[in-house]
């Protein structure tokens, strides 16, 4: 995995590194990346919505996505971590050090399983408490309303919190949004407060609850009734969460080991 000059303006693979040393170097690079071990994602599909969003973002930040364009990551020229070119698209980019997309793991939470398309659980277990949330968006994909009615829907997102009894769960309003029935595309719900509290207190993370009301009738509807793609829908249109973090200065300092 390491190539150096051979003195004749050619790159040759460094093959004489003993296996044990090579392993140690790999561990050094992992530690440099702030990882304790090589991540082992379970069957990660790059075609699902969260990775696709991140790959698109990466490609936009690095031109066409060619590996050579990484050269442009000049710290002096770009004092902020991410390029200004996407500032209009995502204002939080400029103040972020890390961007993370979270997959909905609602199936792992026993009390949320039965409401899969209107409940969400994003695992913040890997997030360091020293990271500060600068913004978080729940992204829901809405297809056109197949019922053909012209109305407006009120989409509300609640955080699920522990009640007095262990069995009790309470819903605390987080954000809400009005959307027209003929709208088609991604709906962005600001869930910064929830992400912030999950980062500081991971144990408080009990998920999010989605409530949809037809503004003309007052009737509560299921997400799929208004075209919001659920877990049985297209993988590239599944709901996910994008979170923007700013790292504390301490995390940039390499610790002596």
């Amino acid at each position: 995995g390491f190539y150096t000059d051979n003195g004749l303006e050619q790159s040759v693979m460094v093959s004489r590194i003993p296996h044990r040393v090579k392993k140690e170097f790999q561990q050094e690079i992992l530690t440099l990346m702030g990882l304790h071990h090589k991540p082992k994602p379970r069957a990660p599909g790059k075609e699902t919505s969260a990775p696709r969003f991140m790959i698109d973002l990466y490609n936009k930040l690095h031109g066409s996505g060619a590996s050579g364009s990484i050269e442009d990551d000049d710290e002096d020229e770009h004092p902020h971590f991410f390029s200004r070119t996407l500032e209009n698209e995502m204002p939080k980019l400029n103040s972020s050090d890390v961007i993370m997309s979270f997959v909905n793991h609602v199936h792992k939470i026993h009390f949320l399983r039965h409401e899969r398309d209107r409940t969400f659980f994003f695992d913040f277990g890997e997030v360091s408490p020293q990271e500060t949330v600068t913004g978080a968006e729940l992204r829901l994909y809405k297809a056109k309303d197949r019922r053909g009615r012209h109305t407006t829907y009120h989409i509300e997102v609640f955080t699920i919190q522990q009640g007095v009894d262990e069995q009790d769960k309470i819903l605390v309003p987080e954000t809400n949004h009005l959307v027209s029935s003929d709208f088609e595309g991604w709906i962005l719900m600001n869930v910064t407060n929830a992400a912030d509290s999950w980062t500081i207190m991971p144990a408080s993370n009990m998920g999010l609850y989605l409530k949809i009301t037809d503004m003309s009738t007052g009737q509560e509807l299921r997400p799929n009734h208004i075209g919001i793609v659920g877990h049985r829908g297209d993988p590239d249109k599944q709901a996910f969460l994008v979170c923007f973090f700013k790292m504390s200065q301490q995390l940039h300092v390499r610790r002596t080991r």
Binding site: T4, P41, A50, P51, S67, E75, D97, E126
Partner: protein, 134 residues
């Protein structure tokens, strides 16, 4: 100065600064301090299962001697002149100026974590942009 003149006489060919200088004495002389290529290939490391992009990156490294005249060397600091002067006077005890990075840049890495979440993180000071004598 006398030493430099002697060196000029003995030098047969300098293909360029990037190569080892071949002298009549048939001794290899280390080139002056400069940036050289060091490519880290994530795919070769077997990390493609979790690193989405890039496939690897040019980390570069600094190699070569910091010798008089320092003008030949890239980005020599003022202190490097003092250090080299001291080395000339007391070569046994005083080290030469060090050929090391003077400018570093970041790389951004896109990768999966254990929960299949995707992280885009920019790592500062990961690649050498320029080398110099310190």
């Amino acid at each position: 100065s006398a030493r430099r003149q002697m060196d000029t006489r003995t030098a047969v060919s300098h293909r360029d600064d990037s190569h080892w200088t071949w002298r009549r004495t048939r001794r290899y002389v280390r080139p002056v301090c400069r940036r050289k290529t060091m490519y880290v290939d994530f795919e070769d490391l077997g990390w493609q299962s979790w690193i989405i992009a890039p496939e690897g990156y040019s980390a570069f490294y600094c190699d070569g001697d910091c010798i008089f005249p320092l003008g030949l060397n890239m980005n020599a600091t003022n202190h490097a002149i003092v250090q080299l002067l001291l080395h000339t006077v007391k070569s046994q005890t005083m080290p030469k100026p060090c050929c090391s990075p003077t400018k570093l840049s970041a790389i951004s890495v896109l990768y999966f974590d254990d929960n299949s979440n995707v992280i885009l993180k920019k790592y500062r000071s990961m690649k050498v942009k320029a080398c110099g004598c310190h």
